[in-house]
């Protein structure tokens, strides 16, 4: 069944001069959808043409509506020669296909050219009339909502979580087609942009179909990636979590009444056996299990054995490097045991039907997450080969399926049925490709996976909204609720439930040290917990968290094909191990015991591998206090050596003490033994690091003999270890007033103000061609990251106190000797005064931070640097370093300024000029005194905020308008003239942001949440003065309103049990 797409071209502005003679342009527009093209009249001799065209109507299949973008080309009419293209606009129609999203696209959109960048703007109107399609064999999936957000979107409640959806489409890369040799770079770029746009449309449609088959209506945590495999093709793949979402009417308070039905849950649970996920019925998915044999990668067999997995304690496949933990004796809380087993059975049955019990969500409704096992990850090295038949991409499918299977089995080994916070990535260099996947093994509440739980009606209301960090009132309400629910499972308070081990303590998948939960004292918890998810809202944290990064460089020999792949896969385990050790050391150094949002990235280059692990460290109150770090010398005979060790030990102890103060970590109990415990076992000779333990009976009231606490031992037996310790200690401290984390919000900070600042910074570092050692490389890489962070702090100094949230690092080795680091983060300011008072009381931060007009940050926003690093540095041999940082200036100082607008304008502008001269003549001419000052030009441009977070502090999202997923290529043949690499990247990123904002505004939105820059591929040819960059950005376009605007609903009222329907609910 078709739909009707209508487009109207209204006007253009700021067009470039196309006719040198007249300094004007004769512009007209081509509107193309599928194979149909319409043209407007030529609007002669104007840079601001008014076309006011008729409605161009396209009658098309809804399948095409989903796949194809609307393509608008602006051209300059030329009587004698061919018309010159000014630029193009691609409009994704998808948001118009869902009745709940946008209804019209209308506004000024930048006209983009891949060589010249933005060249003016065009005002368009686009609408879709869609006819209902009831055909059960249809190929379209209109109406399925997509969200990049990895939590349940804020104005929806989740009725059902169906599970994992994935799809992958491949095609030939136009850049590598034979025709590319004869066409212009522009044509080639445009072909690529169009193809990727088509492919993502197709991908979304196919995923939507799967969701419909499963009975869902939305995809949450939608993650789409491109693999530019070069010669072998172009892969666009996506994963997500299929859900059934119900829209909340604006009035319904999310947390009304929940206590009634919760206790019926255990009774209804067994029925879950019968209600399998619908996905089971759709076994004809292309990912049937049998594909394994079709592998044609020659290295597959070699590296599959090398593929490693690591769970929380990094153990499985590297036997020599195992952490020695204590096996634990003692008994589990007896009463909880059988229930746990019961739960496990239920969950299992609900999940086992699924091919992959995998969820891309990182943030969950309370009660969803029962236990967390630890991080599971898998990497696999593959050799790329040409994709012969794009319609049957079974090779790539099989690769990923294999990886997911492995993830699944790792999770099983941890006693978990599901994997949450799951993500996939690739790193490609020539024909070698590393596929990586990681997630967190977890046990989930089966309730959300069953059909029919909708009947419980009210009880699910609370799931609809994630506790807002700023909305403590509701958070509390939810906390209570989940506690009552969890009550049936074990008696533990809700805040620690997720930290309890899901696996059987007598049959542990890896050696770990277990203690009784410090919160409930009933269940066992591990000594450290690594996860890829956000900190659950109900979790109790002592003090604040901080960003912890492990960085690593490893050189490798240049090689080809199989040899190369083998050497890479041989290196991988060692890199993972070392990253893990670094993380562990840094965690201990900060006296913390858990990592959230862990993301380990390993990038492959021709002659090196880069590893970057980022996570947010916290002190979970439920977990035992971490032991200190002990340094042990190998040869204790030497006196000076001992002295050296003891000074080092002292430095470490000092740092730990300082960090405790800094992060405000003062656990209520067990202060008596933190650091300085003697090293009990020096003879043990594991290679470098080990943890050992020492017993103390501080849990005596529970009469347990094994309340163990380990002191982490660093044994210095070679220079490597010294280096490691040095680097551990030289990690630059964060300047006062700053906090940073890579999770959505900083654990321990609650009172956010609405001041926020999103920015993206890309730094390209050129190594000199000298032969570098691993250590030299490590140092360069570490300095690069540290300096990047430092310059961010420096730039943001006017926002203090502030927290850099969602710090997302992406590293790549685009070419030999180039390291590229891209950072996206959002700086959010918070209230200092209330912070201190509210650390416990959790009062809501209300005061807007009005003290500053922060336009320094704003204006220096899109900013780039190209600096020559001082060559005096002893170890580094840098030739040049380019920095690009670019910022979106959507931050809220707009709001702050608005009130002051008048005073500012009248005040400061007037005061510039000094002498008010009094005219001796009577004021004969009033006209020249008439002030014509007005705000620059006409209707103000809609302010669109962008944030990588799923929310904006102090605001409420009232509508999701659809997903924004844009891909741009920019190329230049005059790199130097455009300000070098930095100037080029700078303006490109600024343009990308401008286009994203314009599209959000055209959909009627005022913000883009869950923004991410998924791809930023930069290639340079300095000799030819050329460069090319590809950027892919995505996010959710939303409409938000300020919380203060809807203060009509007193927050206290809603958080109470009063069923707030209708009456006070209209906003």
């Amino acid at each position: 069944m078709p739909g009707k797409l209508k487009a109207k071209i209204v006007a253009g502005r700021h067009l470039p001069v196309m006719d040198r003679a007249s300094d004007l342009t004769d512009a007209f527009v081509e509107v193309k959808f599928g194979n149909t093209t319409f043209k407007t009249d030529v609007f002669p001799k104007s840079l601001n043409p008014q076309w006011n065209s008729e409605w161009f109507k396209f009658e098309v299949d809804d399948e095409d509506l989903q796949d194809e973008p609307l393509q608008i080309t602006v051209l300059d009419h030329d009587t004698y020669s061919a018309n010159d293209a000014i630029g193009k606009v691609y409009i994704d129609i998808d948001p118009l296909l869902s009745c709940e999203a946008a209804t019209v696209i209308s506004g000024w959109l930048p006209i983009y050219d891949t060589i010249h960048g933005i060249r003016g703007e065009i005002n368009v109107l686009v609408k879709v009339d869609l006819f209902n399609d009831l055909n059960r064999f249809r190929q379209s999936s209109c109406g399925v909502k997509f969200f990049c957000t990895t939590s349940i979107p804020r104005c929806y409640r989740v009725a059902l979580v169906h599970g994992f959806v994935e799809e992958l489409v491949v095609n030939e890369d136009p850049e590598y087609q034979w025709i590319d040799r004869i066409r212009t770079p522009r044509a080639s770029n445009e072909a690529r942009q169009r193809l990727i746009s088509l492919m993502s449309g197709e991908l979304q449609r196919k995923i939507g179909l799967k969701v419909l088959e499963m009975g869902g209506n939305a995809v949450v945590g939608y993650l789409q990636c491109f693999d530019l495999e070069g010669e072998s093709g172009l892969v666009v793949r996506a994963i997500g979590t299929a859900c059934t979402l119900d829209k909340l009417s604006p009035g319904t308070a999310p947390n009304t009444t929940t206590h009634t039905n919760t206790h019926t849950l255990p009774n209804t649970a067994p029925t879950s056996n019968a209600c399998n996920s619908p996905s089971k019925d759709s076994k004809e998915s292309p990912l049937a299990h049998g594909c394994r044999s079709t592998h044609n990668s020659p290295v597959h067999s070699t590296c599959s054995s090398q593929r490693l997995s690591h769970s929380q304690n990094f153990s499985v496949s590297v036997p020599t490097l195992v952490f020695t933990g204590m096996g634990s004796g003692g008994s589990v809380g007896k009463e909880a045991g059988p229930l746990k087993t019961l739960l496990r059975q239920h969950t299992q049955s609900a999940l086992e039907q699924r091919e992959f019990p995998i969820f891309t969500l990182t943030c969950f409704p309370p009660g969803f997450l029962v236990h967390v096992g630890g991080v599971v990850s898998t990497r696999s090295v593959k050799l790329l080969d040409r994709i012969h038949n794009p319609d049957e991409p079974e090779t790539r499918d099989a690769w990923w399926e294999e990886i997911r299977q492995e993830i699944k089995s790792h999770a099983k080994a941890l006693g978990c049925h599901a994997v949450v916070g799951y993500s996939e990535s690739t790193s490609i260099c020539e024909e070698v490709c590393i596929l990586s996947a990681s997630g967190t093994a977890a046990m989930l509440n089966p309730r959300f996976m069953r059909e029919g739980c909708l009947d419980t009606g009210g009880s699910d209301h609370r799931l609809s909204r994630q506790p807002h960090p700023g909305m403590v009132g509701s958070e509390r309400g939810e906390g209570e609720v989940s506690s009552t629910w969890l009550g049936f499972e074990d008696a533990s308070p809700p805040s620690c439930g997720f930290a309890h081990i899901p696996y059987d303590e007598f049959n542990m998948p890896f050696p770990a040290q277990l203690t009784y939960c410090y919160h409930c004292r009933r269940q066992k918890v591990p000594d450290v917990l690594f996860t890829t998810i956000d900190l659950p809202a109900e979790a109790e944290v002592t003090g604040k968290g901080c960003l912890i990064q492990a960085r690593l460089c490893r050189t490798k020999k240049k090689a080809q094909g199989e040899v190369n792949a083998t050497s890479i896969s041989n290196l991988l385990p060692f890199m993972e191990y070392e990253l893990h050790t670094q993380l562990m050391n840094k965690l201990k150094l900060r006296s913390m015991n858990a990592l959230f949002g862990l993301r380990i990235q390993i990038s492959v280059g021709e002659n090196m591998l880069l590893g970057l692990a980022s996570a947010t460290g916290v002190y979970l109150s439920a977990l035992p206090a971490p032991g200190g770090i002990q340094i042990a010398g190998k040869t204790p005979s030497d006196l000076s050596y001992d002295q050296h060790i003891s000074t080092m030990q002292k430095r470490i102890d000092d740092t730990i003490a300082k960090n405790k103060e800094l992060y405000n970590i003062h656990p209520p109990e067990c202060i008596e033994e933190v650091v300085g415990s003697p090293i009990p076992d020096r003879q043990r000779s594991s290679r470098l690091f080990r943890s050992t333990s020492e017993s103390s009976d501080e849990l005596s009231e529970l009469d347990l003999s094994h309340g163990k606490k380990d002191a982490f031992v660093l044994e210095i037996d070679d220079t490597d270890a010294v280096e490691d310790i040095q680097s551990l200690l030289t990690d630059a401290p964060i300047p006062a007033g700053f906090y940073s984390c890579n999770t959505e919000v900083m654990p321990g900070i609650h009172n956010w103000t609405s001041g926020l600042q999103m920015f993206t910074s890309v730094r390209v570092y050129r190594l000199s061609n000298a032969n570098l050692t691993n250590q030299g490389l490590n140092k360069i890489f570490t300095d690069l990251c540290e300096n990047l962070l430092k310059s961010l702090y420096f730039k943001l100094r006017s926002m203090i106190p502030c927290c850099l949230c969602h710090l997302n690092f992406t590293v790549a080795v685009p070419e030999e000797e180039l390291i590229q680091v891209a950072v996206t983060a959002v700086a959010m300011s918070f209230d200092k005064e209330t912070q201190q008072a509210a650390d416990k009381a959790l009062t809501r931060g209300s005061g807007e931070n009005e003290e500053q007009l922060q336009f320094s940050m704003e204006l220096c926003g899109e900013s780039t640097i190209s600096n020559n690093q001082p060559t005096a540095k002893p170890s580094g041999v840098p030739e040049s370093a380019m920095v690009h940082s670019s910022r979106d200036r959507c931050s809220t100082w707009l709001e702050l300024l608005r009130l002051k607008a008048h005073t500012i304008r009248r005040g400061s502008v007037k005061t510039i000029s000094s002498s008010e001269r009094c005219s001796p003549l009577p004021e004969g001419r009033s006209r020249s005194l008439r002030s014509t000052r007005s705000l620059p030009c006409g209707a103000p441009v809609t302010v669109v905020k962008m944030t990588p977070l799923s929310f904006l502090p102090g605001t409420r999202i009232v509508k999701y308008l659809g997903i924004i997923n844009m891909f741009f290529i920019r190329e230049t043949t005059s790199l130097r003239e455009e300000g070098g690499v930095s100037g080029f990247l700078h303006s490109f990123i600024a343009e990308v942001f401008a286009m994203v904002r314009a599209h959000v505004a055209a959909l009627g939105g005022n913000a883009l949440v869950s923004y991410s820059m998924k791809e930023c591929v930069f290639m340079e040819n300095p000799n030819k003065n050329q460069a090319q960059c590809l950027i892919n950005v995505s996010g959710d376009a939303v409409i938000f309103i300020r919380e203060s605007d809807q203060e009509a609903i007193p927050p206290l009222l809603t958080s109470r049990q009063t069923s707030s329907t209708g009456a006070d609910g209209t906003t």
Partner: protein, 351 residues
């Protein structure tokens, strides 16, 4: 111009002229100002941050060339208030510099002389170029436009009233090419000239009388200049001149110290002002308006040590007395002429 922009990071744009120096200098200045003490910065960070600022500025600069676009462009989300400040700061200029180019043709030739001006004024060459280009840009845009000059400038460049008036003066001077460079005029500041320009624009152009705003403000009204010839009767008609003198002397007797000298010089002074008026039909003489005022009127008075108050009194009564001359019929022209001349002289009469 000192580089305040980093010290007070709230006002990046307040010191755009800071961008008129090499990055390395800027970094050095920032270091001297103690930027390194903030936020654990190191020289590398500082350099890169400075480069950032420069690059951002460079990208913004393109938009600042046509300020009306700044409001509708999508590349930068700059709030309206900041846009206004940004524009204002970018178009701000040093009066010392403006004084140097005042009345000169805003052409490439003058641009070549910027080195000298830079040396003379101590303003960096980059800054001189920016200011000069701003003058030229504004001039080019409003030169051919109809309607009031100040309003045109405001409409196209979104400048504040005061700044727009200053630009109007510069445009006006550049268009009429008034002589300002003579040694005798060196004591006059830009503000003096800007004031005079304001007076000329307000009262001597076509737009000044005709509020229909249909003609341009840039040129003096030809018809008016022609009519100024009629004022010659005041010196040519001996009776009228004597009577004029009697009236003025009667009014001033005992009120000014320089009465004696005034009485002696009255005819010379009067003749100087009237001749000036009658000559204004020639473009060349229009250009020499200010030098003539100084040579023919201000210098003699200064020689005789007139005070400003005395000149004010004299000119007031000199103007008013003409109304009492029964045979003088050009009152309108007279007032229009003397009003401007009087305020110009008063503005220019200082050391």
């Amino acid at each position: 111009m000192p580089c305040y922009w980093w010290r007070d990071h709230g006002t990046w744009c307040s010191v755009l002229p800071a961008f008129c120096q090499p990055v390395s200098d800027a970094v050095k200045v920032r270091m001297d100002e103690g930027a390194l003490l903030e936020c654990e910065a190191n020289p590398e960070v500082l350099t890169s941050d400075t480069m950032d600022q420069f690059r951002t500025f460079q990208m913004c600069e393109r938009l600042l060339h046509s300020p009306t676009k700044l409001g509708s462009q999508l590349l930068y989300q700059i709030p309206a208030q900041n846009q206004i400040i940004l524009i204002e700061r970018y178009y701000e200029f040093d009066s010392v510099f403006a004084r140097e180019v005042l009345g000169k043709k805003l052409s490439k030739g003058t641009k070549k002389d910027l080195d000298d001006i830079s040396c003379k004024t101590g303003i960096t060459l980059k800054s001189c170029r920016r200011q000069f280009d701003n003058f030229k840009r504004v001039f080019k845009v409003v030169e051919e436009l109809k309607g009031p000059l100040v309003e045109n400038i405001q409409r196209h460049f979104l400048l504040s009233d005061t700044l727009a008036r200053d630009y109007a003066a510069i445009v006006f001077f550049a268009n009429s090419r008034f002589e300002t460079g003579k040694r005798k005029l060196q004591y006059l500041s830009f503000q003096d000239f800007a004031f005079c320009a304001g007076q000329l624009i307000s009262y001597w152009t076509i737009g000044a009388m005709d509020s229909m705003m249909e003609d341009m403000d840039v040129d003096l009204e030809k018809e008016f200049l022609n009519e100024l010839k009629d004022l010659k009767v005041l010196v040519n008609d001996k009776d009228m001149m004597d009577q004029h003198k009697i009236l003025v002397c009667a009014a001033l007797r005992g009120k000014i110290k320089v009465y004696k000298l005034m009485e002696v010089n009255f005819k010379n002074l009067s003749r100087a002002l009237i001749n000036l008026a009658s000559k204004l039909t020639h473009t060349k003489d229009v250009r020499d308006l200010f030098i003539d005022l100084v040579e023919k009127f201000i210098e003699p008075c200064r020689y005789d040590r007139w005070t400003v108050a005395e000149i004010t009194l004299f000119l007031t009564h000199y103007t008013n007395a003409a109304h009492c001359l029964g045979t003088f019929r050009h009152q309108m022209i007279w007032d229009r002429y003397m009003g401007v001349i009087k305020s110009c002289i008063l503005q220019m009469y200082h050391e």
